[in-house]
Structure formats: structure tokens, C-alpha cells
């Protein structure tokens, strides 16, 4: 699928105009993860490492089928594994492909103070630009999904790029290409929503998952990675996927009203002392008394 060269629509910590702001030259891209057909084979994890040029690394066994407990700066993509026992006693293994959700309203980008360290392309991909990153990890604070990971040696933060380098060249992300069951799909957001809804209808009609549904959380403006879940009311069962993700309120306060109040207070302070000087002038010492030395 071709997107042509990627056009930027939002830039972190940026004071000037953003040429592509609110513009959409291309359609929004989207990755659809149908967790109901994921078999936990980890082909996508391997493909991700290969494409991004990271070495295969030790796995951490903690009595689950998960490769390691959490994402890492050089491990963007992790199949989360959970066991769930339903009310009727049936056991299910829940597999969820965890990676950056490419939020339409990204908390990482809002929080980042460094000009250009995070950009959002007009096709919806949120991408970190390590050469501009200052390593403050504000993005970690802003992200409701706990995605960005810090490299302690280079002091830079990394996360899934949605293979912006491949997508820009008209290819699908590496994980999509590797998936053997067809549980991963990539296309326009509209198409992926439609496909997801179709799958949900299928689950309703032909399976016992009467509460199946699509995960495309509105709290972050929707995401460019969406899930089909067996039970849309319990996303937290899938490795703690948040039910109603929001950019933390304190982050919004800090990046919104507090900046305005602070700027106004600083400006008022400077104008205040300048006006005071014009009104009252300097404080003069009393005259020297006669006969006093100097």
C-alpha cells in the first residue's frame, strides 16, 4: 500500500508552524490485531527484530508463554500472555500483540519538550526521532500504554515505528508480513474498522463470544492500532490493556493551564517591575552630611 513520502502533521516541543498541521494528504493507516486468531507463535516479534536490526536476545522465562516481562528499548513488540478462567470454568489463553498504539492524540508527543524528538505523520504514525531526543523520559510519563522504553547507555527512548520506513516506501509493516494466521492486517483506518466489525459480527454469530468487540479507545482520539477482543468490556485481562486510556490529567494540567498561568505570571512580573520603575524611580540614598569622610 503506497503512502508516498511521509508528511508530518505534528511535532513535539515545536514553537513555529507545522506545514502539514491538520492536513491529510494520504489516508490514515491502521494495523488490525485480531487477538482471537493469534496463536502466540511470536513470528511478529522475530520479524520486528530483523527489520529494525536488533540482535536476538535472551528471553526471560517467568512461567508463562511470554518472551519476557515487558517491552524493551530494542524489543518493540511483545505477545502478552494471560490465562483466563471464565465463570463456567473454561480456561482460555489470551494472547495480545503489545506495541505502540499510534494514538491519534498521543500523550508522548504532548509531553515531549524537545523540538522534533517526536513527530506524527499525516497518515497517523507517531515516530520518535532519536537524534533530537534529550532523554528526559517525559514521553513515558505522557503515554497511557506504558510503551516508550529508555536506553540507559545512549539516553534515548525507543518504541515501535509502525515501520514508518517501510510504509513510506509502500510496504506493510514487518510484523504483518510475518504473521502466519492472518490475525494481523494493515490498511486504511476505514478499511480496518470495517474488517474488524465484520470479524466481530462473525464471532457473535458463530462463536460463544457474544461480547466480542473492537478496541479503538476514544480517550486518546482513537488509535492506529486496533484490536478485536473476545470480550470488549474486559480489555485489562489482556496483559493490562487499559479500559479507558487517557493522557494523565496531571500531564494535561502541566502542559496546558500551568504553562499559561506561568507565562502570564512571568510577563506580569516583568511588566510590573518596569511600571514600578517608571512610576517611582530609584530609591536614592540621603545626602552625605557635611564633614563626613567621602
Amino acid at each position: 500500500m503506497s503512502n508516498g513520502p511521509l508528511q508530518i502533521k505534528a511535532i513535539s516541543g515545536h514553537a513555529g508552524p507545522v506545514p502539514g498541521r491538520d492536513a491529510s494528504r494520504d489516508y490514515d493507516v491502521c494495523k488490525l490485531v485480531d487477538v482471537t486468531t493469534c496463536i502466540g507463535c511470536k513470528a511478529c516479534e522475530v520479524a520486528c527484530l530483523e527489520w529494525n536490526g536488533y540482535p536476538f536476545r535472551e528471553t526471560v522465562f517467568d512461567n508463562t508463554y511470554q518472551t519476557m516481562p515487558d517491552l524493551a528499548w530494542n524489543y518493540y513488540n511483545l505477545i502478552r500472555f494471560d490465562e483466563h478462567v471464565a465463570e463456567d470454568g473454561t480456561l482460555s489463553w489470551l494472547m495480545r500483540k503489545d506495541q505502540c498504539m499510534h494514538c491519534a492524540d498521543p500523550g508522548c508527543l504532548l509531553a515531549c519538550p524537545a523540538d522534533g524528538a517526536i513527530v506524527q505523520y499525516s497518515n497517523g504514525i507517531v515516530d520518535f526521532q532519536q537524534e533530537h531526543c534529550i532523554g528526559c523520559q517525559y514521553c513515558v510519563t505522557g503515554c497511557p500504554f506504558n510503551i516508550p522504553k529508555f536506553n540507559k547507555e545512549t539516553k534515548k527512548v525507543h518504541k515501535c515505528t509502525l515501520c514508518s520506513d517501510r510504509v513510506g516506501a509502500g510496504l506493510e509493516p514487518a510484523c504483518i508480513k510475518a504473521c502466519p494466521t492472518g490475525c494481523l492486517h494493515f490498511g486504511s483506518k476505514d478499511d480496518m474498522k470495517e474488517l474488524a466489525e465484520t470479524r466481530v459480527r462473525q464471532l457473535h454469530e458463530h462463536s460463544s463470544h457474544k461480547n466480542a468487540g473492537v478496541y479503538d479507545p476514544a480517550g486518546v482520539g482513537g488509535t492506529h492500532v486496533i484490536y478485536v477482543l473476545h470480550d470488549k468490556d474486559h480489555p485489562e485481562r489482556y496483559g493490562g490493556l487499559p479500559k479507558d486510556p487517557q493522557i494523565p490529567l496531571l500531564v494535561r494540567l502541566w502542559k496546558g493551564p500551568l504553562k499559561w498561568l506561568g507565562n502570564i505570571a512571568i510577563a506580569a512580573g516583568i511588566i510590573g517591575v518596569a511600571t514600578h520603575y517608571l512610576r517611582f524611580g530609584p530609591k536614592r540614598a540621603e545626602e552625605e552630611t557635611k564633614g563626613e569622610p567621602k
Binding site: 533530537h132 523520559q137 510519563t141 539516553k155 494523565p248 517611582f280 530609591k283 540621603e286 552630611t289 569622610p293
Partner: protein, 222 residues
């Protein structure tokens, strides 16, 4: 022994030594480290001021040094506290002075009680910076090494930035007034903090009780 006791009138020139060499070094040590933290901090604070970080060697460099110089700044204020805290204690006279601070602002100093070595405004600024520095370190610590904060305690991160910023803004408010008074409003202050000397008239006008004490003159009749 108060630090003021090693400040003596100079017989030769008639001027009075207001700040010893050590006090002046102390002042500029904290001043310059504060300014560095201020400039780099403001760069992180606003995209419109991010150029400050670029001028100071780039964002990553600023991020590396800001917390370190922050700690150095705090050490400077603690050093200063060691010498000045007695001079800075608030007195009954200070409270009366503060009640009528509008006369000070309007240059009607004749309506105010005489002041010791530091006036109540200077003392307030002093305590603001000392406690501000402590709060900045406390909150700054969490911003410094967030990678060691466990996920369960992640909520302290935005709280720490918020408090860090509020503490910074409070010190900035005091700092604006401090610069204004030192450079513009009270002529002679800048010479005092750079050379250490003030004229007798300056001392008598602005800090009469201190003037009488260091010149060994009789106490005032109020």
C-alpha cells in the same frame, strides 16, 4: 558570632564594607548556577524558549547538566545558609515593616521602621530561594532518574514535574524582583555585591540599625 561582625567600617575611605569576599563569592556562586538552571529549565518549559538549550550546547547536554548544576546550586544555598541564616531571621520590626511595605515601594522610607543588615523583603527572598531550592531538588530527583521509579509509582512523575515547575515559578517571581531591586531600584546594591563596599549614606538610608551597629554609633532613639 554573626557573620556581620567581620564587616567593619573602613577608616581610609569612609566607606563601609557590606559584603566580605567570601559572601560575594557565595552570592555569585549561587547566582550563576541558578541562572544556568533557569535558562535550561525554561528551555524544557516552553518550546518558544527551547533555543536557550541550543545556545547552551544542545538539548541533551542541557538535560545532562541541569540536574547536576541544580544540586551544585542547592549546595551553594546551604553554604550561604550557614553564614546568613542568623542575619535572615524575621523579627518583630520586620513584621511591622512588612505591614507597611507599600511605603517602601513608594519611596517613603521615612514612614518605616529602621532596618538591620537585611530588610524584611530581602529576608523573604532569602527564605523563598532556600526552601525553593530544597523543593526543586526533592522534585527534580524524580525527574532526574525516572527509569528507577517502578511502574506502580508512576503517578509521582507528573506530580513531580508539576511541583518542580511551580517551585521554579515561585523562585522566578522572587528572582525578577531581586534583579529589579539590585540593578535598578536601589542604586549602590550592585556595587555592594561586586566590590563589597557601600557609602555611609547608603548604609544609613537603607539599613540604619546595621549602620549604627558597625560604626559603633549610639543606638537610635525611637
Amino acid at each position: 558570632m554573626s557573620a556581620a561582625s567581620d564587616v567593619r567600617p573602613s577608616g581610609a575611605t569612609g566607606e563601609i564594607e557590606r559584603y566580605t569576599f567570601r559572601e560575594r563569592v557565595m552570592h555569585w556562586f549561587t547566582g550563576i548556577t541558578y541562572l544556568y538552571c533557569l535558562a535550561t529549565g525554561l528551555a524544557f518549559y516552553s518550546p518558544h524558549l527551547y533555543w536557550l538549550a541550543s545556545v547552551l550546547g544542545g538539548g541533551a547536554t542541557s538535560r545532562f547538566w541541569h540536574p547536576i548544576l541544580g544540586v551544585v546550586f542547592l549546595m551553594g544555598t546551604l553554604w550561604m545558609n550557614n553564614f546568613w541564616h542568623r542575619d535572615m531571621e524575621m523579627t518583630e520590626t520586620d513584621r511591622r515593616w512588612l505591614d507597611r511595605v507599600e511605603h517602601y515601594m513608594a519611596n517613603r522610607d521615612d514612614l518605616l521602621p529602621s532596618q538591620e543588615r537585611f530588610n524584611a523583603g530581602q529576608k523573604l527572598f532569602y527564605w523563598l530561594m532556600l526552601y525553593g531550592a530544597l523543593l526543586l531538588l526533592l522534585t527534580g530527583f524524580f525527574l532526574w532518574v525516572p527509569e528507577y521509579i517502578p511502574r506502580q509509582a508512576a503517578w509521582v512523575r507528573p506530580l513531580a514535574v508539576l511541583l518542580h515547575e511551580i517551585a521554579a515559578l515561585a523562585t522566578i517571581g522572587g528572582f525578577i524582583i531581586h534583579i529589579y531591586m539590585g540593578v535598578f531600584f536601589v542604586p549602590g546594591s550592585m556595587t555592594a555585591i561586586t566590590t563589597g563596599w557601600v557609602s555611609r549614606a547608603w548604609a544609613r538610608t537603607h539599613h540604619r540599625l546595621w549602620y549604627l551597629r558597625v560604626t559603633g554609633s549610639p543606638p537610635p532613639q525611637e
